[in-house]
Symmetry: C2
Subunit: 324 residues, 2 copies
């Protein structure tokens, strides 16, 4: 006779899950977890030994789901991601194998948008720099703190008007900003101006906010030409992925005053961040935390569990990613 535990569906977690201890019991009651705890064992070796019957996998943005890994998981039918972006997934291979992918859906969209607006105000009004100014005791001594530019009424170009980008737009309308956007296709139901290419978006805006996915078309989409078009007062806010921006070129532009400032939650080689940025008061950096709030993590846990339950019940995933 099988134990109850053996009857529970097996889920491979290649990012420790649940993140929140409060979900451990709920998760354990529904699934048997397979987790590679001894990282000295090569992952392929581990998977070939333990993963042959695994039908469902939970992983995050930092794990690369390559063809080699997929080859070690012959029974895989479902990948549930704790992130939104698909840049670390070999989508062609997954499609070929008929694997269902569920991502974090819109769980983080509000938080990412809140964070993007916060970064933007911080850069313009020099909030982090002001905090340093006060907490280092400079205020009583120098008194003067440089003027920043106003946010209200500025022209804001959003790259990628998906779920997060739309939430950014909704917020910035409350600041009387003039919104425009670039995305793969013009969205007929949207009241904002559309630019079909990023250089035009940059030329016609004071601020660029990057919320799009990273893929072959968007890698280094913010390059020298775009920054030149954005201009000396232009601000870049990146809450998408680090490699949307040619980071080395951006650092150069910031150091030489060729753009006006940047608010960056993501970087090309996280957790490494170019140190040159730390010297600039018009730059705010954050450790890829835009998505992380208590509430969104709770929602993510519910979504991951619901996606897994749906898969094992032969129902559609709640946040199913559609293949092109």
């Amino acid at each position: 006779m099988e134990t109850e535990s053996e009857q529970l569906p097996l889920v491979l977690t290649l990012r420790h899950f649940p993140f929140l201890p409060s979900f451990q019991e709920k998760f354990s009651n529904k699934f048997t977890t397979l987790e590679r705890t001894d990282l000295s064992v090569p992952i392929e070796e581990y998977l070939l030994k333990h993963g042959q019957s695994v039908r469902a996998l939970v992983c995050g943005a930092k794990f690369s789901l390559t063809k080699d890994i997929l080859d070690c998981l012959p029974s895989l039918g479902c990948v549930v991601l704790t992130c939104v972006g698909l840049d670390n997934i070999d989508l062609d291979e997954c499609k070929k194998r008929g694997i269902f992918i569920g991502n974090a859906g819109t769980v983080y969209s509000e938080d990412v948008a809140d964070f993007a607006v916060g970064l933007l105000i911080d850069v313009l009004h020099r909030i982090s720099a002001g905090h340093r100014f006060v907490s280092s005791g400079l205020w009583p001594i120098t008194k003067e703190f440089p003027l920043g530019p106003k946010l209200s009424g500025k022209r804001v170009g959003i790259l990628g008007l998906g779920s997060s980008g739309s939430e950014v737009a909704k917020r910035l309308e409350g600041f009387s900003c003039v919104i425009s956007y670039t995305s793969r296709t013009k969205k007929p139901s949207v009241p904002f101006s559309y630019y079909s290419n990023i250089v035009d978006l940059a030329s016609n805006n004071d601020i660029l906010i990057l919320t799009c996915d990273l893929n072959n078309e968007t890698f280094h989409i913010i390059n020298k030409d775009v920054m030149s078009a954005l201009g000396k007062k232009g601000i870049i806010i990146n809450v998408g992925r680090g490699a949307l921006v040619d980071e080395m070129e951006m650092v150069r532009c910031l150091e030489q005053g060729e753009i006006g400032g940047a608010g960056l939650d993501v970087f090309e080689n996280e957790p490494d961040v170019p140190e040159e940025l730390f010297k600039l008061d018009n730059v705010v950096v954050a450790p890829h935390i835009s998505v992380v709030t208590v509430e969104s993590y709770l929602a993510l846990h519910d979504l991951v569990i619901s996606n897994l339950e749906a898969f094992f019940s032969n129902k559609p995933l709640l946040s199913l990613v559609k293949y092109n």
Copy 2:
């Protein structure tokens, strides 16, 4: 025969004005400036000697316009302020003398609101703390950064739904926040819930944003009882005046976790800020810069000049303060 300069109206500036050199010529072409440059001469002595015919005065938030000063300016008919708040003006004395007062009107309202929202997101999402975390090189070492709470959907109570408070509300509606307010009187045209007292406002909200004037009724209005009502997760954002808050009590509440965080642009004894605040990652401090942007300073200069021109042409001031 009088020179052209002597024919220009005389304006006493007790805060150096114009702040922006680009306005110096415009100002000099319209007015003759009287400015006490030798600060070793007591102000009363200076005014008794030079100020007897002065009809118009420009001053700011840091200058106290007391009865004693007014006694030294017998011809004064108009005070043009570079700030919004009237807390440093003896209003009863000004009213008695029939002096017109023009303040900064709504010039700063958008910037103050932008800044308040920026401070709020910074406190919740720990943006300044995140910047310190990254720029001090901790990210590659500790990896984990604590979760903050979500902004979207939170209940926000605004103290003082004037020009700045209304702009804050407009912005936070874009974040799906639930807005309520306390002010001297219920505003019939406003869709937000009204609380007639500040303890009720605090009890029913996650966040308090202070945008009201400082006066006898609002001094230390945020006291121990209010902070207790706001609770352990409650956030205070102060872009009004430092003395709206019992600062010593707030520092204690923050240190002991009796409230959840604070974003502070103003303090009781500026530029002195309690050092205890610098140790707390849930506190963001700024050097009274919420009103200061390039654009609002330009608008302020235009407004000051227009107010003075109106006064000397016997027209109503553009941003006339009404006496109670």
